[in-house]
Symmetry: C2
Subunit: 354 residues, 2 copies
Amino acid sequence: MVAKPAGKKATLTDVAQASGVSLATVSRVLAHSNYPVSEAAKKRVLQAVAELDYVPNMAARALKKNTGSDIGIILPNISNPFYMQTLQGISTLAMESGHQLILCNSMRRAEDEHALLYSLYERRVLGIILSSVDEKADTVNSYAARGMPLVLLDQRLQGANCSMIHYDTRKGTMLAMRHLIERGHRRIALATLPITRWTRHETVAGYRDALVEAGIGAEDSLILVHDQEQEMDNGNTDLQAGAALAARFIREAAGATAVLCVNDILAFGVIQGLTAAGLCVPRDVSVVGFDDILLAAAYQPALTTVRYPSFEMGRFAVMMLLDALRSAEGREPLHLQLEPQLIARDTVASPKGI
Amino acid sequence: MVAKPAGKKATLTDVAQASGVSLATVSRVLAHSNYPVSEAAKKRVLQAVAELDYVPNMAARALKKNTGSDIGIILPNISNPFYMQTLQGISTLAMESGHQLILCNSMRRAEDEHALLYSLYERRVLGIILSSVDEKADTVNSYAARGMPLVLLDQRLQGANCSMIHYDTRKGTMLAMRHLIERGHRRIALATLPITRWTRHETVAGYRDALVEAGIGAEDSLILVHDQEQEMDNGNTDLQAGAALAARFIREAAGATAVLCVNDILAFGVIQGLTAAGLCVPRDVSVVGFDDILLAAAYQPALTTVRYPSFEMGRFAVMMLLDALRSAEGREPLHLQLEPQLIARDTVASPKGI
DNA sequence: AATAAAATAGTAAACGTTTACTATAATTTT
DNA sequence: AAAATTATAGTAAACGTTTACTATTTTATT
């Protein structure tokens, strides 16, 4: 409680001296070793600790034991509400299991991502949870080969030799498409961000599959991809991209009665753009999003969307990491796929005239 | 590039051996010391590093140099979009200045917060950015007295002996109130979460001040505080709290034409509750929020709110920390107050009949 | 009562760095 | 050309822990 004036911090040696026992005994008491120590000695040590305001030095411990207890996590963009939930899941489980989190932000730049991976490796983190912006698996594999446990978050990187966790995006997309088709929509647009990640490719595939399945046949002119550079990402860009895509929808997607948006924020942007142009959702155009972020339900009209269990994804990512740590060296990478769920709310209606 | 088979990781000694120079020379090359080393030696060292896939051990370095380079951050709830922006600001500046972030989640529990503070102290972080849920300043002060640089985020803790950064909440509240009053509102309710933190007290004070200023006079029956336990916070609670408060507004705030909500999410909840009860915003009731989260602009109707520069708050928090580190020991704690700004959008109208 | 096992305590050697010293060669300065 | 710097290299002592050994005492087992 009482703060020491200043000066150097007390060390184990100081405590040993003050309590009249050996260095080893002090260490045993303080590191909660299961080596037996008499109650008397324990008491004296604890008292000296309190008197000297001794605080263990984790760097020394980490050096000696040659292992930290931290988990590294690299995200491309912290301010995406979607990752927030995931981060909450990660943090919850990490804390429960006594690990601390080193949070890194790659800002969507592959070179920053590489630098961060390296610095996490330097720190000897236990493992790394990564949502990579690198489209090649080389870097990731080089760390995997060095024995660093890695979990790829929300993606499936071709040729990557590590565990991955992601959603069944194709299925999710089909869920959304069927929902629209069942309500009578035939011309359905897809509003998407650049198709780089695997998950986006899956979305496009699911979109086409559903169209074919329904006997409508795919028509790529209805795939609206937002090409604009996403340099400075202040989190606002998805919203703006949505508005821009709404404009293109009106111009280019003649006769389309519905639009599928690859995430909820994008959907909000689209709805905003549509509304600004005098169109009414869902009367004139139906809209479906992805993710089911917290605000999807609060939106007016409440957003119909495909729910991905983002909190759970975070928890599972940590679980996979811990599991990889427990089991011996040679463990096969795990692939986990989480199930999507359609949440029908108020942005979908039957097209006019039906 | 090439991964080593397995085995122990290479150390400085290994590199020294492989390159035929001394340990000291290797260290000098690798730690970017300004001690002169011949080009020839440097080259040989670098080559050996590549061959052995040597990676420095940060724990050893931290031990020897007796200082880490990490910044700790403790938030009560990561999944609040408001903190997200702040976190982005923190992370951006931290990264620019070469620091890593240890992210901790106190889950709104004071005892967890204490444990986290201790473990950050154990790690010898450079400083801590804290949004405390503890209403006493004792714990914080004990770390401040031990010389740990601390920045309190988004709050002003009475008697705390450390730097703080927060918004001018009272002014922000008055801004919002004046906006409503100017448009003819006379009976204005305040929808708030439990009044624990200093910032909430300021809100209430600002609310009363504005009412008095306008010659209306404060009437506490229009202050609606959501008392419910906020045990498990999945981020959804503010939304639900808002809906609950909307119900109370309708029951208890007879004749009120507007409601001020202490954050945007709460405002969304209130609007939802109001709408569900058949009331129209802003025709029947005007609503104002606080924070201006990303989605406030995208909401339908777009939310009128008081913007707090949350991204900047994050940046400033890191700046204050770095500043405290640069300047010698005895530095007075800083108090920084950020200016609010009213963002007039579509949830405020003149009351009916005017 | 003798022996084996467990409990308790201490000594000293790591862990992988950085850096204060010391030492020598190369370069300036006078 | 001698003296004073400067550049370069090496040795060895920390930094604050943990833990393998060794040594002693206590307790349990026969």
